[in-house]
C-alpha cells in the first residue's frame, strides 16, 4: 500500500506544472540568461523566465531598469528576434540602445492611448508568439480587475519562449500577482540592487547587487568640471518599508 502510494506521489512530483516549495524550480523551465551571473544564479532556470511574466518594480524611474535588461535584449535582437516595447513612458533613444548592443531594427514600439489598449496590445504580442521579448509599461490602474487581466497575459505567454517584462510601480508590491518572477529595483553604492520579491521556489532574502552604471560614469572619477560629492554607503536604502516577500 505504502509502495503504490509513494509511486503515485513520485509520479505527481514529476509533473512539470507542479513545483515544490523546498527547491528552486526544476531545470525543465530553462531561463534566458540575464547577462549578470550573480543574478542568474538566483533565478530559477538560470535566467529570466521564458514564456512567463516577470514584473519589474523600479523604486524610481531611471535608476537602471533598462540597463538591467540591456544584455538580454542585445542577445535576443542579435539572434534576429523581435523586441516589442508597448506603451514606453518616453522615447527609447536609439544611440543608447545601439551602444548597449541592441539591434534597433528589431524594435517594434507600440503607442497606446489607454490602459485597456496597453493590455490588449500586450496580449496580442504574446499570443502571436512572434516576439523574442515583450516589454510593457502598465499604468497605475485600480487593482480590482487587475489580477484577472494579468492572468490573461500569463496564459497568453505560456507555450512561447519569450520573456515578458511588465514594468509597474512599486506601490503594487504587496498585491498578489500571477507573475512567475517579481523583482524590485533599488540602488546601492552606485550600483543596482535587485530584490527578488517572488520566484518559483524558496524565497530570496538578500538583494543581488549589480554594477549597472554606464561605463563613462564609472571611469570618470576626477572630472575637473564636476564637483564630486562622496556617495553615501546606503545599501538598498531605496526600498520602501512596505515591500514584502511574495
Amino acid at each position: 500500500m505504502a509502495f503504490t502510494g509513494d509511486c503515485a506521489v513520485a509520479a505527481l512530483l514529476e509533473r512539470p506544472d507542479i513545483w515544490r516549495g523546498d527547491s528552486l524550480s526544476r531545470a525543465g523551465a530553462r531561463g534566458i540568461p540575464s547577462g549578470f551571473s550573480g543574478l542568474d544564479a538566483e533565478l530559477p532556470g538560470g535566467g529570466w523566465p521564458a514564456g512567463a511574466l516577470t514584473e519589474v518594480l523600479p523604486a524610481h524611474e531611471g535608476i537602471g531598469e533598462l540597463r538591467l535588461l540591456g544584455p538580454v535584449l542585445a542577445a535576443l535582437s542579435q539572434r534576429g528576434l523581435w523586441l516589442a516595447w508597448i506603451a514606453p513612458p518616453h522615447l527609447p533613444y536609439a544611440p543608447a540602445l545601439s551602444a548597449a548592443g541592441i539591434d534597433i531594427a528589431k524594435l517594434v514600439i507600440v503607442r497606446t492611448a489607454s490602459a485597456k489598449e496597453t493590455l490588449w496590445a500586450t496580449e496580442q504580442a504574446l499570443r502571436s508568439n512572434a516576439c523574442g521579448a515583450v516589454l510593457a509599461w502598465l499604468p497605475k490602474v485600480r487593482c480590482a480587475a487587475k489580477y484577472a487581466e494579468l492572468r490573461r497575459l500569463q496564459i497568453a505567454a505560456e507555450g512561447g519562449r519569450a520573456p515578458v517584462f511588465l514594468f509597474r510601480s512599486p506601490e503594487i508590491a504587496s498585491e498578489s500577482s500571477p507573475a512567475a518572477l517579481r523583482i524590485a529595483l533599488g540602488t546601492a553604492g552606485g550600483g543596482l540592487a535587485v530584490r527578488v520579491l517572488k520566484r518559483r521556489g524558496t524565497p530570496l532574502t538578500h538583494p543581488v547587487l549589480l554594477p549597472a552604471m554606464p561605463p563613462a560614469v564609472r571611469g570618470k572619477h576626477s572630472n575637473p568640471h564636476v564637483d564630486r560629492h562622496p556617495v553615501p554607503a546606503t545599501a538598498a536604502r531605496n526600498f520602501p518599508a512596505r515591500f514584502v516577500h511574495a
Binding site: 524611474e61 533598462l66 522615447l91 560614469v217
Partner: protein, 425 residues
C-alpha cells in the same frame, strides 16, 4: 408549379427569382477557389465544378483528406454541395447530379455504380426523356442494354457518345478553367445589415474564397478592399494594407474584424464585395524537419498589422538613427526592420524626453527630485545653425537624490538655465 399554386400550399413562402448571372459568378468563384487543389479545374454550367485530382492525392494526403477539405471549404464558402468522384469526369458529375456521394476508385466498379443511376442525369431535351420513359427505360443500365444501332437511330449518336465517355470507352478531354488575374467576389446579403460587426460572417466567406484563389496562383496580396454596398449611397470602402504579402484566411479575418469593430455604418448594407488586384508570388512555407517545442513562432508582420488595424498606423513603429549631433534629431520613427547605420555617440541615455523639461536651480545647482550631483560632463553640442534649429548646450550626466542617472544640459544661449533631457534608466 405555378407561383400561385405554391403560395396556396405554403402561404409564408418567400419567392426569389432565379439569378443566372449570380449562379455563374458563384460557380466561377468556387472554381477559382478549388484551383488550389489541382490545376485541372473545369466548370460545367450551370451547377458543376470538375476537379482532376488524381495528380494531387499524394500532396494532400489521399482522397479522403482532399474530400474533407473540399467539404469543409465549400461549407465555409457558404454552399451546400454534393461531392462525388469517379475515374471519368462525366461519371463523377452524373453521380453528383443523382445525389450519390460516392467515390469510385477502380474503373471496374464504374459499370455497376453507373448502371443504377436514373436516365435524368443525361440532361437531354424533354422529348428524349419522355420517349425513354415511354419505352420503360429508367436507369442508365437499362439504356446500355438496348441495341446500340437502335439507340443511335432514335436518340442520336451524341447520346451514345456521352454514355461511352462516362464509361471510359471514349476519351473526354476538357478545357481547364483559367482563374482570372484579379480577385473579385460579392455577396448579396439576405437582409439589410446595420451593425458593422455582423458583416464579418458574410465577409468571412469571401475571405476564404480569396485565400483559395491565392493558393491556386501560389500568390499573396499586400492589399485588398472590402466594399460595402448601400441602397442609395456610394459604397463604403475598407482598404486593408499588409506589410508583407499573405494568403492567410485567419489573418485576413482578424484584420477585418478589428476594422469592422471600430466602424460606424453610414447606412444599412445590402451587399458586400471583396476585391484584390495585385497578386504577387508567394512561396509556400516549408516545415522544419524536427518539430520545435512549444507554440510555432508567429509572423511579426501579422502582429504589426493586427496592432495597427486597431491602434492606427502611426501607433506602431520602429526606430531609425541618423548621423546628426542634435540629440532630438538623432532618432526618427521608421518601419520596423529597416537597416540602420551604427553610430557611436558616446554616453547617451536610454530614454529621451519628448521635449526638454526646465529644471529649477538653487545656488547654481540644478534640481530634479532634489539637488542633482553632476557626475560627468560637460559635453558641448553646438549644431544646426544652417536650418534654423540651432542649439548650443553643455550636457552633463547627473545623479538624483534617488540615485537615478539623468542627462541634463545647461542652455548656453539666451537666458540659459538647466534642462532635463533624458534618463539613463
Amino acid at each position: 408549379m405555378a407561383v400561385s399554386a405554391a403560395l396556396a400550399l405554403a402561404p409564408r413562402l418567400r419567392i426569389v427569382p432565379r439569378d443566372p448571372a449570380g449562379e455563374t459568378e458563384a460557380l466561377l468563384g468556387i472554381g477559382g477557389w478549388a484551383a488550389q487543389f489541382t490545376p485541372g479545374v473545369a466548370i460545367e454550367f450551370p451547377d458543376s465544378v470538375l476537379l482532376e485530382v488524381s495528380g494531387s492525392l499524394r500532396l494532400f494526403g489521399g482522397l479522403e483528406s482532399i474530400v474533407e477539405r473540399l467539404r469543409r471549404g465549400t461549407t465555409e464558402l457558404g454552399w451546400s454541395t454534393v461531392l462525388a468522384g469517379a475515374p471519368t469526369p462525366r461519371a463523377a458529375s452524373w453521380l453528383a447530379l443523382a445525389g450519390e456521394q460516392k467515390f469510385i476508385g477502380a474503373a471496374a466498379r464504374l459499370e455497376e455504380a453507373l448502371a443504377a443511376l436514373p436516365v435524368e442525369v443525361l440532361r437531354r431535351e424533354d422529348e428524349t426523356h419522355a420517349a425513354l420513359e415511354a419505352i420503360g427505360v429508367r436507369t442508365l443500365g437499362e439504356l446500355r442494354a438496348l441495341p446500340r444501332e437502335g439507340v443511335a437511330r432514335r436518340f442520336g449518336q451524341r447520346l451514345l457518345d456521352d454514355l461511352d465517355r462516362a464509361f471510359g470507352a471514349l476519351p473526354d478531354p476538357r478545357n481547364f478553367f483559367a482563374p482570372p488575374t484579379r480577385f473579385r467576389a460579392s455577396i448579396e446579403l439576405p437582409a439589410e445589415v446595420t451593425q458593422a460587426e455582423a458583416l464579418l460572417f458574410a465577409a468571412r466567406r469571401l475571405v476564404v474564397q480569396l485565400a483559395g484563389f491565392l493558393a491556386a496562383r501560389s500568390g499573396g496580396v499586400q492589399r485588398f478592399a472590402l466594399r460595402l454596398g448601400h441602397r442609395d449611397q456610394a459604397t463604403t470602402e475598407i482598404a486593408i494594407g499588409l506589410i508583407a504579402p499573405s494568403r492567410d484566411a485567419e489573418h485576413f479575418t482578424l484584420l477585418l474584424r478589428e476594422r469592422l469593430s471600430g466602424l460606424a455604418l453610414r447606412a444599412p448594407v445590402r451587399a458586400i464585395a471583396l476585391e484584390a488586384d495585385d497578386v504577387v508570388p508567394l512561396a509556400g512555407r516549408n516545415l522544419g524537419l524536427l518539430l520545435e517545442e512549444g507554440k510555432p513562432p508567429g509572423h511579426w508582420e501579422h502582429l504589426v498589422e493586427r496592432l495597427r488595424s486597431r491602434l492606427g498606423a502611426g501607433a506602431v513603429h520602429g526606430l531609425a538613427s541618423r548621423a546628426e549631433h542634435r540629440p532630438e534629431r538623432t532618432v526618427a520613427s521608421a518601419e520596423p526592420d529597416s537597416r540602420q547605420p551604427h553610430l557611436d555617440f558616446g554616453e547617451r541615455p536610454f530614454w529621451l524626453l519628448d521635449r526638454p523639461r526646465p529644471l529649477a536651480e538653487t545656488g547654481a545647482v540644478p534640481h530634479y527630485e532634489g539637488p542633482l550631483e553632476l557626475l560627468a560632463g560637460p559635453e558641448r553640442i553646438e549644431s544646426g545653425w544652417w536650418d534654423g534649429g540651432d542649439i548650443a548646450r553643455d550636457y552633463f550626466v547627473a545623479r538624483t537624490r534617488n540615485e537615478a542617472l539623468v542627462w541634463i544640459y545647461r542652455e548656453r544661449r539666451g537666458e540659459g538655465g538647466w534642462y532635463l533631457h533624458g534618463l539613463f534608466a
